[in-house]
Structure formats: structure tokens, C-alpha cells
Amino acid sequence: MSDDTPARLSRRALLARAAAVGAGAIIPIDLLRGPIAEARAQGARPLADAPETLTQNEAATLEAVCARLIPTDANGPGATEARAARYIDRALGGALSASRDAYRANLAALDTFARASKGAAFDQISVADQDTVLRDVEAGIPAGFTPGAAAFFNLVLAHTLEGTFSDPYYGGNADFVGWDLLGYPGVRLAVSGGEQRMDRKPARVRRSAYDHAMFAKKRPARARNDARRPHKPFA
């Protein structure tokens, strides 16, 4: 994907329709024939789930940010395919709930800045413009962010890396695309001396830690309404 690619297909429309259908509901045929099919035909990412924590607009903006932080390009899938934004959305309702307000305020600030500097919402501008905007945010240049643009950039970058490279159990690193990008051979419960040699890499294991029976019972919570053991670092 070169930097002068036209703006990606609007995520807002797709997400709005997904929400209208409802998470987990059967997707109507016409939707499959419509924008999703087009999007797939053009190599865009699959339709996201309706957001669990963020609003439609926030989720669309976040999807667009993640897509630029770890782009889909000649080196393969990126944060989009890993579904890093889904990870963040879920976690903001659970373990990362302390950051929910920061996302609310600063995704809005990002859109405001994109409109002011590039004339449209962040997810509507070209990827080249998106990169310019993000570089400015990283450098702490635009006002209107809380506590500051650079701090928000660092927060989203950290969470995007978590969403791309953490155990798929949490909703990101879908199909292990993050681990494949790094060449990480996967979670093993025991490793032999031969598997620590440099000359031959161990075979890739595609398994979540929580696919192992001994850890299945005590899976940590993933989101707000997760019935599993609550995350309680400060309990």
C-alpha cells in the first residue's frame, strides 16, 4: 500500500450496519453482497464486530489509527488483520477501563485536529494525510488532547502493540498474524535444548495459553461483562 492510496472505504458505514444487525446475529444476505464483498474484493479488512465499549465513530477512528501504526503492506498483515482495535475496545470495558475517558476525549480531539488540518474526519482522509496527522500527534504538536497529544499517541501505540502481539485469547493477534510477523514460534509448556538452537527454529505452535486444559478454568476476564474471574490488581 503506497502512501497516495485514496482514502479507505468508510468504516463508519460498515460499523453502523454491523451494529444495526447486532453482534452475533445472522448477517443478511444483502449485506454480504454489499460493501463487505466490495471491501474484501479490494483487499480491505474483514468487517469488524460491533464495538463493545467504544461508540461507532470512536471505533472507526481507532481502526484507522491502528491501521497506520502497524500497516497492512508488502510485509503482510498488520494491526487491522490482527484486530488490535477489537482488543482495545474490549479491554477498555475491562482491564483498561481506566483509559476509557482518555480514548473518548482524545479520539474526538484527533478527529477535530484532522478536520482542521486535513479537512475531514481522521478515517476519511488519505493514508498519507493520516500519517502526517499521527506524526504531529506523536510529536505533541496539536492542542486539545488530554493530558497531551504525545501521551495519547504513546497510549494508543502501546495498546495497539498489545492487541497485535498478545495471546489471541484477548481478541487481538487474530489468526496469530502478530506472532507470525515476528517469527515467534508460539506458546509451549516445555522447550527442549534442541528447540533453543540457533540453526533451526522450532515449528510454529498456534495455540492460546488458555487452550491448554490446565489454564482453562482460571482464564482472566476480557471485558466488562465477562463472567470469568475479574481482573483485580487493586482489590
Binding site: 502497524i70 499521527l134 506458546v187 538452537r197 540453526d199 481482573h231 483485580k232
Partner: protein
């Protein structure tokens, strides 16, 4: 009700008074969890109060997000409500507080998820003052340092190192057995009576390459000691090298945490009762200035646990805090603080100023553990001539195999690419498995103006002040750091690294290697506990942990804290009539 107790709150609190015990231990972690065993074996009636809960093998999933990013969410985390505030000097602004406390709560404490490196200190570490004077002159003691010799030498502690290495299970290779040097181990270590109970953890191809490079430089490379079973030991499995040991509990009990070693052994004697989720709020004192027991909260109820002897083993920050919070007419400035020494001589180990190298090929460091590595001790302590140098002490160089994906993606990019975008992605795709960061532990000294006290404003949810750390590294630490970074750069370069990057020293922060605050020594004016670990002021109060240590050495403190804990407990058993 207990007569000498005064309540903190306006309303008198009616605590439930429990049956008097021989010994109450505050904190069942690295130190308290070890001390329980000799006491219970001697037949004393012991109760251990632990803020956390029991954790089991099925709590320890190989999950980087949970273990390394989100700060150990598996357990009750009292510590996270008490994170110290920090500032470099008394006149500087406060630094940001850490997001997560460096240690954790749970039966076994931080030994549940620590790296397990289990070094003995070198002989010099006990004699920094006298050895520096003898070899280089008194002027070489850094200005403002309050360093003292320990009240005894390595030879006094050796039997206790030996017993702890066997009771918990330490793997390693001896370098000096009764004066006979074995080049397979650390040739700079002091004499030990015998070999480690288990062979060292295995090396990897990468650590072998690093060992070869060290030898090419004329340095001595050897495997480090670890409280991790390298073979079946005491019915526990050998290490599986799966890569989730750093801040991860062991799913097969190979890590020799006190939770799976000394604490269950003590329970088997039927003389140790473990009370979990117990938050100690104060140590109580009678009219004679003796400790009468401990007040704690559990499940919304306040209890008073009377005891003949109290052992305070809650880690450096909480040891100091509980003493300072335990004010009474006999100790108006805090328990055992009538000489103003509680909180003094504080320092946290200089482990910053790391060196990261980039290699031209994949290292396959995806598995292993921080304790699976190779050490060089040539530049530690006084193992080299300091005559032409402008510092004392040095650092231990440690290179190991350990890598997980989120950390790999957060790798140092050596200034070659931005932190994100396609260029970054291409860089990490190529280099995620080509970098290595050395662990460089360096001599850190106590100074007059580095100390712990109670924060005047910040309180925990119970309304009790948290610890305030006023401390920073001084010139000696900065000079060691630069010198050690030079040595590490030489080592990586000799092993074929294409580039290295040095991290800054930064400022001193709350740490898993926190020393002092209740220093051990013969001089009542400058130390809180005597040479046996008992208070100079309150004779039936013992203090356990690295808070009694007056020097850091250049290596992990846990085994030394455990050997000292066993020694204090052993002394208590042998002198029960006098102390109780």
C-alpha cells in the same frame, strides 16, 4: 483487651484478641517463608500473616499480557495500594509514581514470579569500608556515603547460604570449594563448603557463543546460580524453559519459591499456621518497650495477635513503613526508631544503564528464562584493580535467553526507524529475534541524603501514609555504570554484534532490589538491628529481608536475605529463653 495498645482512630477499636503465639511472622515471602521452617522444626508455635492468597500451578498461565504488561493480576495486591512516592532529593519535585508495585503479595511473595537468580555475595561486599581503606586509602570512600562493614564476614554467613541452597533447591556450579578454585563456576566467589545441590541450568547456543566471546577477551564466563530445579528435586519437576518465568509463576513448581519449598515443609510439622489476606496495620508495644503482638485486618475484622516474638518480614518499604506507623509512648517516632535510623541507609540496586545489542542473525531467544544465562564477574566488586579508577565497586555482567512477543515488538530500534509504520514493521520483522539486552547489576552505596520516610500527604485506602523515597544515584554509581557499559559493549562486539545502544542511568526508583532502612550493625547509633537481626531497642523484634543489608554487591539479594533470615531464626531458637 491488651493494655498498651492505643487506637489510631477517634473511636476506640475493639479488636478481636487471639490466643498468644510464640512467634508471629509478618509476611510469608522470600525471607519470612524461609524463617518459618527452622522455627517450626524447633517446635515453636508459629503463625504467618500474609497479605495475599495461595496461588497454584493453574494460576500461572504462559500469558505475557497478564504477567508482564498488566502487573500480575492473578493475586490480591495489597502492595499496589501502597506504591511509594519518589523524588531524587529533598528539594526536587516528585517523580511520577510507579503504576505497579515492584513486589507482590501471595504466599511465597515475590519468589512466586521472581527470576530466581540466587547468588551468594562475594567476600568484598561484607568489607567495603575496611577493604577500600586497606587497598586504596580512606579517601576513596565516596563523599557522603554512610557505608559500613557488615558486622561479620562471608564466612559467618556461609553455613546459612549452604542450608538455604539445599532447603529451597538451588542449581549452579561452584567456583570455590573450601579454597579450591573450579573454573567451571565463579572463580571470584568466596569459599563454600560443597557443590550446589543441583547442576546449573543448561545453556543455549546463544549463551555458548557469548561465553566463547568472553573467553576470547580473557574473561571468565560461567553459568549463574538459580533457585530453579535443573533436575527433579524434593519431588518437584525440572525446569521446562518455556519462556514465561520473568514475572511468571511456575506451572510445574520448578521455581524454588518458598510457596513450594520451605512453607509447605514448615506446615508439615503442624507448627506453622498460615493466615492469608491479613493486612498488618501496626506492631504493638507493652509498657516495657517490648513488642506485645501485631494488629491486622482480615475480612473487615480487626484482630490483635499477641506473640512472644515478632519477626517483621514484609519487604524493605513495608518493613520501614510499619515501624514508622507503630508509634507508642516508648517509641514516639516509630518502633525501634529512638536513634532515628529507621528509613536511613536506603538504596535500590543500580540495574539501569543497560546495554542492548543487535546481531546480524536470529538468536532464537524465544524460550528460556532470565536465569538461563552466562555471567562475567571480572568487573564486579573489587575483582579488578581500582588504583587508576575514580570509583569503587563494579558490576556483574549477565546475558540470558528470554524473549516474548510484546516485548520483542517493543524492541529498541537503534535510531534506524520510527516507532511505527511500514518502516518499523519491516525492521521488527527482520530483527525481532536479533537483539539482546544484558542485565547489569552494579554496586550501589548508601548515602546520608538517600532515605525513606512517611509521605506527608499520600495515603493508602486505609488512611495510612505510604512510603516516600528520597534517593538518587551519586557520582560513584554513575562512574560504575559508564565503566560497565564499556565492558558490556566490548563483550557484545566480541560476540559479533553489529551495533549496541546504551540506556541512561536514570534516577533511583522503587525496586525489587531495595536495601537498607533497618540496617544491621553493631553500632546502635547507625543501625536498627544487631548482628543477629534483632532490634537494638525492642529486644523481641526481629527484622528479615534486604532492609537489614548495608551493601548491595553486584548481584541479586534474595539468597542473602534468605540466609540472613534463616540465621536470625536459628539464633532465636537457640536463645529462646532470653529473647521471648
Amino acid at each position: 483487651m491488651h493494655g498498651g495498645r492505643t487506637s489510631r482512630s477517634r473511636e476506640p477499636i475493639v479488636a478481636t484478641e487471639l490466643k498468644k503465639r510464640d512467634v508471629v511472622i509478618i509476611g510469608l515471602g522470600a525471607a519470612g517463608g524461609v524463617a518459618a521452617l527452622p522455627l517450626a522444626r524447633a517446635g515453636l508455635d508459629v503463625v504467618g500473616l500474609e497479605a495475599g492468597t495461595w496461588l497454584n500451578v493453574d494460576d500461572f498461565a504462559p500469558d505475557e499480557l497478564s504477567n508482564n504488561v498488566r502487573g500480575w493480576p492473578q493475586a490480591v495486591q495489597k502492595a499496589n495500594r501502597e506504591i511509594p512516592t519518589q523524588r531524587p532529593t529533598a528539594s526536587s519535585p516528585y517523580s511520577p509514581r510507579l503504576a505497579v508495585h515492584p513486589t507482590m503479595n501471595g504466599v511465597g511473595g515475590t519468589t512466586l514470579h521472581y527470576w530466581g537468580q540466587s547468588w551468594r555475595l562475594n567476600p568484598w561486599d561484607f568489607k567495603v569500608m575496611s577493604e577500600t581503606r586497606r587497598r586504596y586509602g580512606a579517601s576513596r570512600i565516596p563523599r557522603g556515603s554512610t557505608v559500613e562493614d557488615w558486622p561479620f564476614g562471608l564466612d559467618e554467613l556461609e553455613p546459612y547460604y549452604d542450608v538455604v541452597e539445599r532447603e529451597i533447591g538451588v542449581s549452579g556450579k561452584a567456583g570455590n570449594i573450601s579454597g579450591r578454585i573450579d573454573r567451571g563456576g565463579n572463580i571470584f566467589e568466596g569459599p563454600r563448603r560443597r557443590e550446589y545441590p543441583m547442576p546449573a541450568l543448561r545453556g543455549t547456543e546463544f549463551t555458548e557463543i557469548m561465553a566463547g566471546a568472553a573467553r576470547k577477551l580473557g574473561w571468565h564466563a560461567f553459568p549463574g546460580p538459580a533457585a530453579i530445579a535443573s533436575e527433579t528435586y524434593d519431588g518437584r519437576a525440572a525446569c521446562a524453559y518455556h519462556g514465561f518465568c520473568a514475572r511468571g509463576g511456575c506451572h510445574i513448581r520448578a521455581k524454588s519459591s518458598t510457596a513450594v519449598t520451605t512453607i509447605p515443609k514448615a506446615q508439615q510439622t503442624k507448627r506453622l499456621e498460615v493466615v492469608t489476606e491479613a493486612t498488618v496495620t501496626r506492631l504493638d508495644v507493652d509498657g516495657n518497650g517490648r513488642v506485645s503482638g501485631v494488629t491486622y485486618l482480615k475480612g473487615g475484622t480487626e484482630y490483635f495477635q499477641p506473640a512472644s516474638v515478632v519477626l517483621l518480614a514484609s519487604y524493605t518499604y513495608e518493613n520501614v513503613r510499619l515501624l514508622l506507623l507503630s508509634r507508642s509512648s516508648a517509641y514516639p517516632n516509630g518502633l525501634s526508631n529512638n536513634h532515628g535510623q529507621v528509613g536511613r541507609h536506603y538504596f535500590s540496586h543500580c540495574q539501569t544503564a543497560a546495554v542492548t545489542a543487535l546481531f546480524p542473525r536470529d538468536l532464537n531467544n524465544w524460550y528460556g528464562l532470565p536465569a538461563q544465562g552466562v555471567a562475567v564477574d571480572n568487573w564486579a566488586d573489587d575483582n579488578f584493580d581500582h588504583a587508576g579508577l575514580d570509583f569503587i565497586g563494579g558490576g556483574n555482567l549477565w546475558v540470558y535467553s528470554d524473549r516474548r512477543p510484546i516485548a520483542a515488538a517493543n524492541m529498541n530500534t537503534f535510531g534506524r526507524v520510527p516507532r511505527w509504520g511500514s518502516a518499523w514493521k519491516a525492521f521488527v520483522r527482520e530483527n525481532a529475534d536479533r537483539w539482546n539486552t544484558a542485565y547489569l547489576q552494579k554496586t550501589t552505596l548508601p548515602y546520608e541524603d538517600n532515605y525513606l520516610d512517611l509521605d506527608p500527604e499520600v495515603k493508602d485506602p486505609l488512611g495510612m501514609p505510604v512510603i516516600r523515597m528520597t534517593a538518587d544515584y551519586k557520582e560513584n554509581e554513575h562512574r560504575i555504570a559508564a565503566f560497565i557499559q564499556d565492558r558490556m559493549t566490548e563483550w557484545y562486539t566480541a560476540a559479533g554484534a553489529v551495533t549496541v545502544q546504551r540506556a541512561p542511568v536514570g534516577t533511583m526508583a522503587p525496586s525489587t532490589h531495595a536495601y537498607g532502612g533497618t540496617r544491621m550493625g553493631d553500632n546502635v547509633e547507625t543501625n536498627v538491628v544487631d548482628r543477629w537481626g534483632f532490634s537494638h531497642e525492642a529486644p523481641n523484634l526481629g527484622i528479615l529481608g534486604a532492609s537489614v543489608m548495608g551493601t548491595s554487591g553486584a548481584r541479586n539479594p534474595t539468597l542473602t536475605a534468605q540466609a540472613l533470615a534463616w540465621r536470625t531464626a536459628d539464633y532465636l531458637v537457640k536463645n529462646w529463653r532470653n529473647l521471648s
